[in-house]
Structure formats: C-alpha cells, structure tokens
Subunit: 438 residues, 2 copies
C-alpha cells in the first residue's frame, strides 16, 4: 500500500453533527438540514479537500426515546446521495441501507442506478438494524434475533451481487439493423431459492459501472466480522488505541486469508471524532460548552438504548446493573463490549455523559498539527487504512478540519492531493468485482 492513500470519509447521521446534542450548538443549522443546498455545500467542500466519500448512516425509524430532546429526523440516504451525484464528480457516495427491512431486488436497483448516475461512485453500507423502533415500523413486535439478522444479511448480499451480475458487461448490443438489443445468452436468471429469499432475476438495470458498488460493513460481533471478511470491501470499526487497531487488523487478516482473500483488498476504516482547537483555552471552552449542551436525560436515554434496558428507574449516581449476556443480546454487540470496557465504578450518569460525547469513537482533539499527527500515526502504524470523520459539530468542525488539517496531512504525504481517475472502486485501489456468472 502506498503511504499517501489514507482513506477519509465525511460521516454523518445527525445532520448537525455526531453528538445527540450537536443540534443545540449556537451555530448548528436548523431547518436548512432539510434542504439540498446544505448538503451540496458540504459535499463540494469535501470534494475540494479530496476526501474519499460521503458516508451517511441511517436507521429505518426514529430513535424516539426522549423525542423532544433529540429527534434524529433527517433525509433518507439513497435519495440524498442520488441528488448529490448530480453536483459532484469524484467523491464516493456511501449510503446505509438495511438488509432486515428491504427487498434485495429493490436495493439492487437503487444502488445500480446510483452507480450509473454517479459514474461509478456508489457504495452500500450494509446494516442489519438493531432498534426496536425500526422493527415496529415493519410489522414486527420485536427485532429479529442477532443470528437470524446476520444469516439474512449474508443471503441478501449474495442475491444483490448476483443481481448486479445478471447482465454481463457485454450484454447490451444495441444492434439496430438486426434488431438485437441484448445478447440473451449474456443476461442471466438467478432462480435463487434460499432460506430467506426466492428471486428470479435478471435485474432491470445493466451491470453497474463498478460491477459491484463498494460494499461496506460495520459491526464487530463475531457474526459481523465474518460477514465483513467474507463479503465486504471496507469495514468500519471502532478502536481506541493503535495496539487495539493492529490486533484487530491481524485478526481480520487471518479471517481473510482463511477465506482466500488478500488483506490489501479489505480496507479498515476507524471512526474518529476530530476536533481542532488551537489552544488549551479553546479546548477547555469546548469541553465546557459540551457539558452545557448535553442533558442528563439524553445521557440516560442513550445508554438505555445501547443496552436495550430502560435505565430511568435505576439510581443514576450508582454503577450499572448487571449487563445483558452478549450471546443473547440483539442490540449492537460491539457497543455492549465497549461499554463493558469502561471502568465499572462509573455511575450510570457518568457513563452516559461519556458516551454522549464520544459515541464509540476515538476523540482526536488538538491543534491541526496534533490532529494530523495522530491520524497519520494511526494510519502509518497499520492500525487502520483510514477514517470515518465523525465531526461533533457540522458544518463547523468539518470546515476547520478541511481548512487546517487536510493541508497538513497532504504536506505529510499521507493523503492524496488529487483524485485518481476511474470509479470509486478503482480510486480506493480495490480489485475489480468478479461476475458470479462468468
């Protein structure tokens, strides 16, 4: 791997920034987060900084505990990124979509179409969904079991990639004199019959420019890691130290090797919260502001949601009650493990407020030089191939990063200074997607 290829994605879920309280910042956007122009400005700035992709997280429901205090209303990623395809040229477009509450034929079409619209810049962040609020919007009384969701996800991805492959690259003939639109021998029925899906095919969109839009997967449970190693191009992880990242990479390399895949074909992206502060005073001010903007209610709600356990009746100035058993836990097992890793002496409120400020991510706060040095060190150590940049405050923290940190990263030689030609898959140095029907 060349050293100037650190991957950097502008990540967002809340359009105001990664914190549940980001929207309360005096400079936070209000109604404009429901306009295209807000995102167009962000996307163009990201492209001017030669970032690799816009990465939009998603739920298929509103996370509505404490609705009044934090309501993550927002636009839907596939439609938003399709619109942004029209106003950008090079940046990747990573849309989150759930395998639990959609049909593979529909998702295969949306992503194939987005890939054509963007000249090969589409990417699918695959999630299985873990909120009860989501399940309740799709006819279920409770979310499907963790193992069931991952089995479905595996089959779902296999169906989607085969649908993308159902037209060979040379299937379109446009032979007007002979009246041959397509070479019928190069258009394939799947006739898939699995545990979850029965899909005939072919897709009604030809094979997309990338063959397969870039597949991203987050989730570091056992099932998640195996799904990523077997099917993803990019894996979104949470690490808090270089040692942890290197150990994780090593584990994933073993999984990849066991599956006959090359580790270079698998990019690991760590979630970081980059915050540029230019003095100790600014840093202190920032921390004071955070403390003022967050509320106890938000902290308890977040911890309750992560643990799938209503903590409001528990004394908030005492440590957590016994945690759920991971093997039977249908929430985010990665997050459950991260919570276990905190000091068990922390009270519910202390832990909730910590999580509220960090999500599961590595907080990288300092001067532009310090932020750049830290990201470069993580990257050069091999602990991650790049980062999902989860800015606490949008657009402010991102603007400062683009203006101050990006030039330092480029000067250090760890970040590209211009886009490589070709599709997103090519720009990221990922291998061509093989056609299953070849």
């Amino acid at each position: 791997m060349s050293h100037n290829s650190m991957i950097l994605n502008l990540f967002f879920f809340n359009p105001q920034g990664d914190y549940r309280f980001s929207w309360r910042h005096p400079d936070a956007p209000e109604h404009e987060v429901f306009t295209l122009s807000y995102y167009t400005t962000l996307a163009r700035k990201a492209e001017a900084a030669t970032l690799d992709a816009l990465f939009i997280a998603d739920h298929t429901g509103i996370w509505d505990s404490g609705l009044a205090h934090y309501a993550n209303a927002r636009l839907e990623p596939l439609t938003l990124l399709s619109a942004l395809a029209a106003v950008t040229d090079n940046i990747g477009l990573m849309a989150t979509a759930s395998t639990s509450y959609t049909e593979p034929y529909n998702l295969a079409r949306y992503f194939a179409s987005l890939d054509f619209l963007s000249n090969g810049r589409a990417s699918w962040n695959i999630v299985t969904s873990w909120l009860e609020e989501e399940a309740a919007n799709f006819g279920l009384d409770q979310i499907p079991q963790h193992s069931n969701r991952y089995q479905r996800a595996g089959e779902f991805i296999d169906v989607v990639t085969r649908l993308w492959d159902s037209w060979d690259d040379g299937a379109l003939l446009f032979d007007k004199p002979r009246g041959l639109f397509a070479d019928a021998d190069k258009v394939h029925h799947l006739n898939h019959r699995g545990d979850f899906f029965k899909v005939r095919g072919p897709l009604n969109v030809p094979r997309p420019p990338q063959g397969h839009p870039v597949l991203v997967q987050a989730g570091s449970s056992e099932a998640g890691k195996q799904l990523a190693a077997s099917r993803a191009d990019m894996h979104f992880v949470f690490i808090k130290s270089i040692e942890q990242g290197k150990a994780y990479r090593e584990e994933m390399n073993q999984r990849l090797n066991a599956l006959g895949r090359s580790p270079e074909d698998f990019k690991i992206i760590a979630g970081v919260l980059p915050v540029v502060v230019n003095s100790e005073t600014e840093k202190a001010e920032r921390q004071q502001l955070n403390a003022a903007l967050m509320s106890d209610r938000m902290a308890i709600d977040l911890l309750s949601a992560y643990l799938k356990l209503d903590l409001s009746p528990y004394p908030h100035d005492e440590p957590l009650p016994p945690l759920p058993d991971e093997a039977n836990f249908d929430g985010i097992r990665t997050t459950l493990q991260l919570i276990r890793d905190y000091d068990p002496a922390l009270t519910i409120l202390e832990l909730g407020r910590l999580l509220l400020q960090s999500s599961d991510s590595w907080l990288v706060m300092g001067t532009a030089q310090e932020v750049a040095d830290t990201l470069a060190e993580i990257y050069l150590s091999g602990a991650a191939d790049g980062f999902n940049l989860m800015f606490p405050l949008l657009p402010g923290d991102f603007d400062r990063f683009a203006e101050q940190v990006v030039p330092v990263l480029k000067a250090k030689g760890v970040m590209k200074t211009e886009y490589a030609p070709g599709t997103l898959r090519e720009k990221l140095g990922l291998p061509l997607a093989k056609n299953h029907f070849a």
Copy 2:
C-alpha cells in the same frame, strides 16, 4: 378552471421512447441512456418549455419475453428523479413505485426526502404491478390477485399519507436554549394495524413541503377508479375520443361527489403519442419507418404479455382466441378492455402491430399546428385536464414538440407561459393536503 392550465408531463418508461422498437431508430440513444447527462438534458428542455412534470413509469422486473429484441433495461425512477431534483428548479418529479413489492415506511421516506430535496416537487405514481416477472423477483410464484393488490394498495396509501402526517407542520422547534428539538405532542405514532401492515411510526423525516407529495394513479378497472377517486390527486387514463373522455370525466365526477370530493381537486391526464410531421410525405415516411423497425416477434410478445396468454402457438393470421374473463383477470384490466374494443376481425399479428405502435394511447400525428389544435380541443372540451406526452422517439419527437408545438399552445392561450410559484401541488392548483392527525 382557468383555460391556460393544460397539464403537460414528459412521460417515459423506455428511455428511447414509448415504442418497444424505439431503440432501433437510427437516431435513438444507446449507452447514454444509462448516464445522468441524458436525462439532465431532457429535464432542462422540459423545464425551459414550462412542462409540468417528468413522469417516469416503471416495473420492478424486466419484461423479458423476447429479451434479445426488447429489453427495457433502464435506471430506477426514485434515484433518477432525486438526481434530477439537483439540476432543475420548477418541474414536477413523478416517480412510479409499486405498492405490491415495497414497504410503506420505506416508500414514505423516499418520497418525503425527494420532496425536501426538490423543494416540494415530488409525486408518486402508484401502481400495483401486474407482471409475473415482477412477482418472481419478490418470492412469489404468481402475482397476487387483482382485488388483493388493490386492497393492499388502499391500505398502503393510507399508511404512507399518515406517515407523512406524523410530524405536524410546526413540530420542529429547534429551541436550543431549552433543549427542545421537537414538540413531542406534535409527533404522532400511527400504531396502525390493518389487514396488510402493522406500522408504528412516526416517520423519521418531518412532514414534507407539500404535506403529501402529489398522488397519481393509473388504471381504470373498477377497483382502480375507486382507488383513484378516493385517494389520488391525478389520474392517468387512456381515451381515444373526446366523447369517451367526457363520459369518463362524468363518471369520475360522480364517484368524487359521492366521496365528498370536489372534481376540481382531481386532475385527469390522458396518454397521447404526439408526433410532429410537417407534410404528408413526412407522415408516410414515418409510418414506413415504424413498419420497418417493428418485428412480428415484438408484436406477438406484446399482445401475449398484455393478455397473459402465450400467443406464439396460435396462428398469427387469424383472430384472437377467446379472451380472458375480466373478473378473474390479474393483468391490466384497462388494457384488456381496450383490446376488446378493437375490431374482432383483426388477426393476432395485425392487432399486435397496432398495439406496438400505439400502446393504449391516442396517436396525435400532424403538423405542429394540427397537434396543438387537437390537444387544445381535447382539453377545452373537458375530456382531460392535460396529457402525459408519450413520445414514440426520444429525444427527437420531444425536441420537435418543445420547439414547434409548445409555442403554438402558448399562443392559443391553453398552456401557461411561466411557472406559478410554490410547490408542485400549488402549481397544479391542487388543494393543501390535510393532516390526518389535525
């Protein structure tokens, strides 16, 4: 109704034009139909001509009888129109989506998001899907019964509109000092439990700019007409004469009145195939070209698909075998009826070739003046509020229409010369969408 408000939509399904053989025309586009720039050019021309909307038909499968000769591969409407939202300002964006193979929560989000991205220009063309090829992509051995599909569609629309209503217009507070993002009393759970769906809500997108994106419905079976009268803003029909249109309008008015709705709030749009030819010689050449481009195979395939009956073993120089009984017919009942209305002495091949050139639509061929006169006459008679313009050849027939017919329509005072302000709903003179939770 004012007389200068004829509604005109640029309609397409095949990106090369409405005929199955359109792609064979010497000037027909080839690979460019899979690029955004092809549609951007069309959309901008349509907006320059002050057309009301882009109307994109769709199937959730490929119509793959005779795949080699006619393969309707194309981009997906929601993603395509989201991209076009970014490069247009006024034109409506009508996307077809099926109630049979999607989930209401997902569709409600896509359309609400498109409505925000386009500043209130989204519209949903509601279809129930009738092709076996579609059913087979969604786990079914055969398509659901006609009555079942329409029952599901009714409930589906009710859930989607209530999801759009689940945030009151004033629900977003952004009260930063008090930490109140939303007024929780103005965000509603549906707790819907019906025959087909169980959906909790609320949506995770606030109420869209139009309240409800404009609802369009095509399909003139008894169930289709009742669905349209009870829930649609716009109804897409096929008529072949002014008398037929006026009788249809009268029937729909009675249905609307019986439901307590005002006929002015319900726009009827007829499908027409407008072709500008500037001399009898050009007309003859056009007809000869059509005859040369179509094939017997396409004709038999089309008629077989419409009748859900493989006609290939029947003698093609004899009339049709007995037609299916409408009451048990799960295809397009409107089309079945149109086929019944043709001269029963026509042979299978003759009828197939006729359908191949006309779809179900009124062919309006003549000089620009003649085309404009015919459209004005239909419109002023009250037989239709406007037209879905189904150009046989794209972009050529549309370019000629925009350059030659549109100025005549404007000079005649039957077409607006500039866009009205506001959302698509307002531009079309449709009433505000009431909030179910109000």
